[in-house]
């Protein structure tokens, strides 16, 4: 078994809506191993990004509460003073965000935004930082890194901006890169390039990656292990091969069934009934997915769902996976 890099224990992230707090991440336990690509999948609104931003406390504390533990390098990041956390942010944990246009400061040259990471984490002098920034831009595949260095974000294309974003995140060769839907805002051909780049750099730097996505194709291609998230909980956790070969949880199976296939001719695309419940109306007891498979009998779910290890490293929440059947749905 590989060494654990980051250990998430009973993470609970709640947002204030009106006067009350509602948990968007509701009791998540995860271990991220060294040198692995860990994918987190799920529909929009199921808590993936909320989880990612919680790890280094990037949520606005005025309306967010984070409970639990995030253990990294022997420290609990959730209890660390801001100044010590800033040593880890950028140096040990790098972030890549979804929309590279809004994630870069519009008034600062791309090169200077890369240098900023170096300023706070290295002793390099100005000329060395510049040199390093230009090298990084070359590493992420910029054809003219010296020119890109002095460009402003709006002068670059979407794909180039995301490359610049990757250069920022990787400037200090972090141990962990958290990529929050890094390709969602890009078109398909650019997506593939960015993912290739990310994987190459991950292998080269021997860092771990938490890849957040709703694209199962990306997961199959990139990830070593996968966690499927629904309504703030991990419903299934498995090595990537197991998950695609033997998907168990009804939610995982529904997600996989929703991917259009070119092999067989289908008349209708499978869609999962209903939507992820709003944070305020989220059922907090029982199996949270039960109301989206209403044709199944209630007694297949556990009252208080627990994790079942079906094979080494493959966990499923709730017993409903045992009896779940698409065919029983009269509407499809």
């Amino acid at each position: 078994m590989q060494e654990t890099l980051l250990k998430i224990k009973n993470l609970r992230t709640s947002f204030r809506i009106g006067g009350d707090y509602f948990a968007a991440v509701d009791g998540v336990d995860l271990d991220i191993k060294k040198n692995e690509v860990f994918a987190l999948v799920g529909e929009s609104g199921c808590g993936k990004s909320a989880l990612a931003l919680s790890l280094t406390r990037l949520h606005n504390p005025n309306f967010t509460r984070i409970a639990g533990e995030v253990e990294f390098d022997g420290k609990n990041l959730l209890a660390l003073p801001e100044a010590q956390l800033n040593v880890i942010r950028g140096r040990h944990i790098g972030m890549i965000f979804q929309d590279p246009l809004t994630a870069l400061n519009p008034l600062i040259k791309v090169g200077h935004q890369i240098e900023e990471t170096l300023t706070y984490h290295t002793n390099l002098v100005k000329t060395e930082r510049k040199e390093r920034a230009i090298n990084l831009l070359a590493e992420v595949g910029m054809t003219n890194p010296a020119l890109t260095y002095s460009n402003l974000p709006h002068e670059l294309s979407g794909g180039m901006r995301q490359r610049a974003m990757i250069a920022i995140a990787l400037a200090c060769k972090p141990d962990l890169v958290i990529a929050d839907e890094p390709t969602t805002a890009l078109d398909v051909t650019i997506q593939a390039q960015i993912l290739d780049l990310l994987r190459d750099l991950q292998r080269e730097m021997q860092s771990s990656v938490i890849l957040i996505t709703h694209d199962l194709g990306v997961v199959a291609e990139m990830a070593d292990r996968v966690a499927v998230m629904y309504a703030g909980q991990i419903v299934e956790l498995a090595p990537v091969r197991d998950l695609f070969k033997n998907p168990l949880h009804p939610y995982t199976r529904s997600l996989l069934a929703s991917i259009p296939s070119t092999d067989e001719e289908i008349n209708r695309l499978h869609v999962i009934q209903g939507v992820v419940p709003e944070l305020r109306n989220l059922p907090r007891t029982g199996c949270r997915f039960s109301h989206r498979i209403p044709w199944m009998a209630d007694d297949i779910h556990e009252e208080t769902p627990t994790y079942h290890e079906v094979s080494p490293g493959h966990f499923v929440l709730c017993t409903c996976y045992k009896k779940f059947d698409f065919a029983a749905d009269n509407n499809s």
Binding site: L58, N60, R89, G90, L107, E116, Y120, H154
Partner: protein, 322 residues
């Protein structure tokens, strides 16, 4: 850039021309003229006044008068002769202009000196105690009519405490060019300038506060935070500069507003500036001076807009005038 500035200046010519026609027509239709005051004088007969009006060309139809006036400006730079002051209008204005420019400059400096720190503090510590205190100030200032606030200040600091003179722009005996003259001028200007500045800050404070709060939760600030940038640097390097851009683009208009809009302040503090001159010119039906002032204000407004655009290109690298 230079080409644009020249083009913008050239565009101003037809703009100012249109304003001049409109303004002249309106002024002509206001009852009374510079000689109306003479009708009160029993020593002068109505026939004599009409004679004078005929000699001065005041009885001609307005297009003719306008033609005379505009050709004077275009051909000789002559804005006409003020009958009320018995001097060319441009001379009367020139005397007051430097007073107003100095007052406007001081007011602008004070306005930003007060508004920028307060806006930044309110945005940085939003919903904290200090922000609420600043909030109370801005709401009071917003609800306060200029006249009332100016009168209160005049009463307290001018009459009661006697810290500041209550009228004029400089002591009569002061010799121009000396340091005493400068001090005396400042002493006269400080109360009207602070009064105007305290009221002019509200828009800037509220806007700046809103911008800072908005940028606080923007994506690029989250990115910076994820890089390990300390909180203080997030503000100085990422938030303030983005938040200040709209302020910079307003500065041209604010300066012009102060130049043209100091009427209340100048009247209450008996400060001999252009705002008061404008008001007096209207009440005395001295249209020559009033028209010349309006042309000046119009030109300043157009220049202010241009100034704002130029400043914007300096502070925002995304905008380039071509």
């Amino acid at each position: 850039m230079h080409k644009t500035i020249i083009r913008r200046l050239l565009i101003m010519i037809p703009q100012l021309f249109a304003i001049s026609v409109l303004m002249f027509a309106i002024a002509y239709n206001i009852p009374g003229d510079a000689l109306t005051g003479l009708t009160e004088n029993p020593a002068i007969t109505y026939e004599r006044i009409q004679e004078m009006r005929y000699e001065l060309g005041l009885l001609d139809p307005w297009p003719m008068q306008y033609g005379r006036w505009i050709s004077g400006i275009v051909l000789r730079g002559d804005f006409g002769f003020s009958i009320t002051h018995s001097r060319p209008a441009i001379e009367v204005i020139g005397e007051r202009a430097s007073n107003t420019f100095q007052l406007a400059l001081l007011t602008t400096v004070l306005t930003y000196a007060i508004a920028l720190p307060l806006g930044i503090i309110a945005g940085r510590y939003n919903d904290k105690f200090i922000d609420r205190v600043i909030g109370v100030y801005t709401y009071l200032a917003m609800a306060m009519p200029t006249i009332v606030f100016a009168l209160i200040n005049l009463l307290i600091f001018g009459f009661r405490l006697q810290w500041f003179p209550i009228r004029g722009s400089v002591y009569i005996n002061a010799v121009p060019g000396t340091f005493d003259f400068f001090l005396s001028r400042m002493h006269h200007m400080i109360l009207p300038a602070i009064t105007a500045a305290l009221l002019a800050t509200i828009g800037i404070i509220q806007y700046l506060r809103g911008e800072i709060i908005r940028y606080k939760s923007s994506d690029f600030v989250t990115t910076a935070r994820s890089k390990g940038v300390p909180e203080r640097k997030l503000y100085t390097r990422h938030i303030f500069r983005n938040a200040l851009i709209p302020m910079a683009s307003n500065i041209g208009f604010i300066i012009v507003g102060l130049l043209a809009g100091a009427i209340f302040i100048e009247t209450i503090f008996s400060f001999p500036g252009m705002g008061r001159l404008f008001l007096d010119s209207i009440t005395l039906r001295d249209f020559t001076t009033a028209n010349a002032l309006i042309m000046l204000f119009a030109a300043l407004t157009a220049i202010g807009a241009l100034l704002s655009d130029i400043i914007l290109t300096i502070v925002d690298p995304r905008i380039r005038i071509k």
